[in-house]
């Protein structure tokens, strides 16, 4: 089967892979780029487990061919933490127990990232509605919603703080 060169900038690093046209983005991330943090759930684009950000907007990487996003900037869960320092969303998910089995967590974190980036003043109601794109089978969403709200507040306080005062 013919292969095509696909160039992706994933978490700031640009790579070119040669893949079949039918190869899904999630499989390219996991198999070709060594980033297994993006998981596969329903394989129909329903559950949101495979959510990644493409040029800042969430997509379902299990129903997207890699060739469709040639040249894009992709962000995955592996790009959230800064070395030993967790992203505020990761830290708040940990603090509020916004995860149990952890399987939906990467997709949920990326969706939450998008929600907060689009609206730093997001309300609890908007968070609920926003994360309804992604299924979680463990938590019943309550502690996820709490974590996203407190991360949003932290990120806003951080952004509003005078330069040099940022944590």
């Amino acid at each position: 089967m013919d292969k095509y060169d696909v160039t992706l900038t994933v978490n700031g690093r640009t790579s070119t892979v040669s893949v079949e046209a039918r190869k899904l983005l999630v499989d390219v991330l996991r198999e070709d780029l060594g980033l297994p943090g993006t998981h596969i759930g329903c394989e129909h684009g329903v559950c949101g487990t495979c959510t990644v950000l493409r040029d800042g907007a969430s997509i379902r990487s299990c129903t997207t061919f890699a060739v469709q996003v040639d040249g894009s900037e992709i962000r995955t869960v592996e790009g959230l933490a800064d070395g030993a320092t967790l992203h505020p969303l990761q830290d708040e998910f940990w603090d509020k127990q916004g995860l149990q089995c952890g399987y939906c967590t990467p997709g949920m974190l990326m969706r939450a990232c998008e929600i907060i980036e689009q609206n730093p003043d997001v309300t609890p109601e908007q968070v609920r509605e926003g994360i309804a794109s992604n299924l979680c089978r463990c938590t019943g969403y309550q502690f996820i919603a709490e974590a996203v709200c407190s991360a949003a507040a932290r990120m806003k306080a951080d952004a509003d703080a005078p330069r040099g005062a940022r944590a």
């Binding site: 297994p36 998981h39 759930g41 998910f93 149990q100 952890g102 399987y103 309804a132 299924l135 019943g140």
Partner: protein, 818 residues
């Protein structure tokens, strides 16, 4: 069995009151790797040379396989092998089956001459990628001769012309009736007998991660290593080895974190056997990982699917006397766990109510559906639903307040033996109810309900009080047979604790894979409590079945209590050795020393002490400083067996103690029903649980909310629907099988009540099955409460808009006809 000849209970314990770590909602020690996308799930695992397996599934519910042509598939690019069911039957024996007469409903990893449900595996392809394996699946040509499909369990029982298993000669795999207490007397003396017919349809755990295995058979040594996200039941390893026809000491099953289970990865032997079989045939490591359709149609873990005919005997004042339960269960095409989940129901069959007799009849129907396995609650959540529906109906018929009828019948003296013989160790049902009435703002909502009714709106309040049994004993699978094939297993769980030369502690867990529960956090907190260290400094590792100690793994809300018992035992051994070492180093009498703040010290003289690290370094590196009979090192293990099991009586009038640590909860959802559309929405939801002493309250709250979300799915949305005519599975993706989102699950008000068990470390009870034990019952009661004035009572789950509208229309027609 009479009270006097009951075996003695375990000794009643005194619980430590000033706990440091047990009871704190610390951040879970498991989480950092998952937050970073480094969970190490089975799909993340790659082994050099690994190939990929994909299974061809039956498109028919019931058909004979008359021919199968794999030539084209074998020639497809990248394909290493194609194994048909017939060849698989030569390579492997049938899968482990606890059901009655397993030889009459033989279960294999691939179907041989007949398929019995849509999705059953027919052949497996091994190829260089999953893509190439699926390409080849499309090239396998199977000839089927379709047979009539059995879909309805009652019709299947009546049908002798069409059989799911010819060898069985019937579609009834098992039937038995138990009588506990004097049923005839209770029904004869009752003022009122309330009857009900109820239907609970099948849903399932549906974790977002499917089941999978990576198997690596080494022909040089004859050794098979299987990594799997199912349980590596050390105790039952030999059964997988038996299926594979290899020696048990040549099989090592290694646990991998699971992306959720909710029961549905319990004992998932089929994927491990398929991967193992393929690896042995091709001589390379093989991954078999179900896709979503595999999992929905072929996971062997659909949940309960029951028809109930129930009679409840009670007095006019609301005093409950006895219950007569007649249930037909649709097991699907196989019956791997027998009717064990009815045993589960019998552990708490009378709920929190002081009834004196129970009749329980179960008939196990076989149909052309995927077989049942486990789903959070394992059948006792269905019993909770059935019991609360009929109690609620009785209250309504007698004009007794729903709170009063429950309070009137509460058990208040403990330990209490229910008619089946199981014990409730402790409880405070009034305390839980009081807390729930307050937390739910019950009076306020009753007033709102009355106001809404005047406006023509239908608000309902679903108060239920129900049990959450914990720490199962295997008798629930066993007492169904008068002459069981083997004695009852004690379901052990083991922990090894090692204090290294620096005083740092590592706990080894056996076969207790992480499933989204918190075994590592539980053990870390329990170890920290014993050794006065920070739980985040305790290192937790898992050991596979090879070299493993006996272990059973999660199930029946047992993990925390069983691990606690093992931690306590291993701690005692380590502290005994450390005490002796400290006494030697301090030149003191051991009796003069006490454990305090992470070390041993002379009583009353805190400056004369040795910390655990000081003791450990000496024991590890400086053995010559100690007496000859002391060995180097500071490590010990405990195998902890089920702490409270008693044997059933020979006549099965008493089933003994098999689920002793009894939790309890009260749920109060407030719903509004839109009678025009049949939609149900939540206005409020309060839940109070009592699972004894809490180890990590936030983590238990997570089980309460998460379980309630699943219960909402069971009550309103989720169903594996099989076409009534041809047995096609109509809900084979998440477009049709509807899992609740954040918009369907309301914010819960959560209350904890703590009634310590007298028999366990710290008084802990299990709570892992959480809100799913209660929510279906509570939501059904709430919907009925909203519509009672219209003459509507819903008796079937899930309450889809279609079903609800049909019930409303039927009641309207009935009203008009009057």
């Amino acid at each position: 069995m009479t009270t006097t000849d009951r075996p003695a209970a375990p000794p009643v314990r005194t619980h430590k009151q000033d706990r440091t770590w047990v009871g704190k909602s610390i951040r879970r020690v498991e989480d950092p790797k998952f937050l970073r996308g480094r969970g190490g799930y089975i799909g993340d695992m790659t082994v050099t040379g690994m190939l990929y397996a994909a299974v061809l599934r039956s498109p028919h519910a019931h058909a004979r396989i008359t021919g199968i042509d794999i030539a084209e598939a074998l020639a497809s690019p990248g394909v290493h092998d194609v194994i048909t069911g017939a060849r698989a039957a030569e390579l492997c024996d049938p899968l482990p089956d606890f059901g009655p007469d397993p030889t009459k409903h033989t279960w294999r990893c691939l179907a041989v001459d007949k398929v019995r449900y849509v999705g059953e595996g027919v052949a497996v392809v091994v190829a260089e990628s999953r893509y190439l394996a699926e390409d080849a699946l499309a090239l396998i040509d199977v000839e089927y001769e379709p047979l009539p499909a059995l879909v309805d369990p009652e019709r299947a029982l009546a049908d002798s012309a069409t059989l799911v298993h010819d060898a069985l000669g019937s579609n009834c795999a098992y039937e038995r009736t138990f009588d506990f207490g004097d049923v005839e007397k209770d029904f004869a003396e009752a003022d009122v007998i309330v009857t009900d017919r109820l239907r609970w349809r099948r849903s399932g755990g549906q974790p977002l991660e499917t089941v999978g295995a990576v198997a690596d058979f080494d022909h040089a040594t004859g050794r098979l290593t299987v990594h799997t996200n199912s349980l590596s039941f050390t105790s039952y390893l030999f059964m997988v080895a038996g299926t594979m026809k290899i020696a048990a000491n040549k099989l090592d099953v290694r646990p991998v974190p699971a992306g959720g289970s909710f029961g549905s990865k319990l004992f998932a032997t089929k994927p491990a056997v398929i991967a193992g079989m393929c690896s042995r045939e091709v001589g390379r490591p093989v991954q078999y990982l179900e896709d979503r359709v595999d999992n929905i149609s072929n996971c062997d873990h659909h949940g309960s699917d029951r028809v109930y005919d129930v009679r409840l005997a009670l007095m006019r004042d609301g005093t409950l006397r006895g219950i007569d339960i007649d249930t037909i269960e649709d097991y699907g095409a196989y019956i791997q766990f027998g009717v064990g989940h009815h045993g589960n129901a019998l552990a708490q069959v009378v709920g929190p109510y002081a009834m004196t007799s129970v009749r329980y009849r179960v008939r196990a129907a076989l149909t052309n559906k995927n077989q049942q396995g486990a789903y959070r609650g394992f059948g006792s959540e269905v019993n909770n639903w059935m019991l609360e529906q009929i109690v609620d109906k009785a209250a309504r018929e007698l004009g007794v307040d729903p709170v009063d009828i429950r309070r009137r019948n509460f058990i208040r003296e403990f330990p209490h033996f229910i008619p089946t013989g199981n014990v409730y160790d402790s409880g405070d049902y009034d305390g839980v109810l009081d807390k729930a009435l307050e937390l739910s703002n019950y009076k306020h909502w009753r007033a709102e309900q009355a106001k809404a009714r005047e406006e023509g709106r239908c608000i309902g309040i679903g108060l239920i009080t129900a049990q959450e049994r914990s720490v199962f004993s295997a008798t629930e699978f066993w007492f169904w047979f008068d002459e069981p094939a083997a004695p009852v297993t004690s379901m052990p769980e083991s922990v090894t604790l090692k204090v290294d030369a620096t005083g740092a502690i590592t706990a080894t867990l056996y076969s207790c894979a992480f499933w989204g529960n918190s075994p590592e956090t539980m053990v870390a907190q329990l170890v920290a409590e014993e050794f006065d260290c920070d739980p985040h400094d305790v290192s937790i590792v898992y050991q596979g079945s090879g070299n493993g100690l006996p272990a059973t793994g999660p199930g029946g809300s047992r993990t925390t209590v069983m691990l606690a018992g093992a931690v306590e035992g291993a701690t005692a051994k380590i502290k005994a050795k450390a005490l002796r070492a400290a006494a030697h180093l301090l030149e003191a009498d051991p009796d003069d020393l006490e454990w305090a703040d992470g070390g041993f010290q002379v009583k009353g003289v805190p400056e004369q002490r040795k910390t655990l690290a000081e003791i450990a370094v000496m024991l590890h590196l400086f053995k010559h400083s100690f007496p000859d009979d002391m060995e180097s090192g500071l490590e010990d293990s405990t195998v902890f067996d089920h702490p409270y099991t008693t044997m059933p009586s020979a006549d099965r009038k008493d089933l003994g103690v098999f689920y002793p640590f009894m939790g309890h909860a009260c749920h109060v959802p407030v719903v509004e029903v839109d009678v025009e559309t049949g939609a149900v929405s939540f206005l409020a939801y309060a839940a109070v649980h009592d699972c004894g002493t809490l180890v990590n309250p936030r983590s238990l709250a997570g089980h309460i909310v998460g379980g309630t979300a699943q219960g909402i799915g069971t009550a309103l949305f989720e169903e594996f629907v099989y076409d009534e005519e041809d047995g096609q599975l109509l809900t084979s993706s998440y477009l049709d099988y509807l899992i609740p989102t954040a918009m369907e699950v309301p914010e819960l008000a959560i209350g904890h009540h703590e009634t310590p068990s007298p028999y366990t470390l710290h008084g802990i009870k299990g709570g892992g099955e959480g809100g799913r034990m209660m929510a279906p019952a509570a939501i059904n009661v709430a919907v009925n409460d909203a519509l009672a004035h219209l003459g509507v009572r819903v008796t079937e789950l899930p309450i889809t808009p279609d079903r609800l509208r049909a019930a409303i229309r039927a009641a309207g027609a009935a009203r008009e006809a009057r």
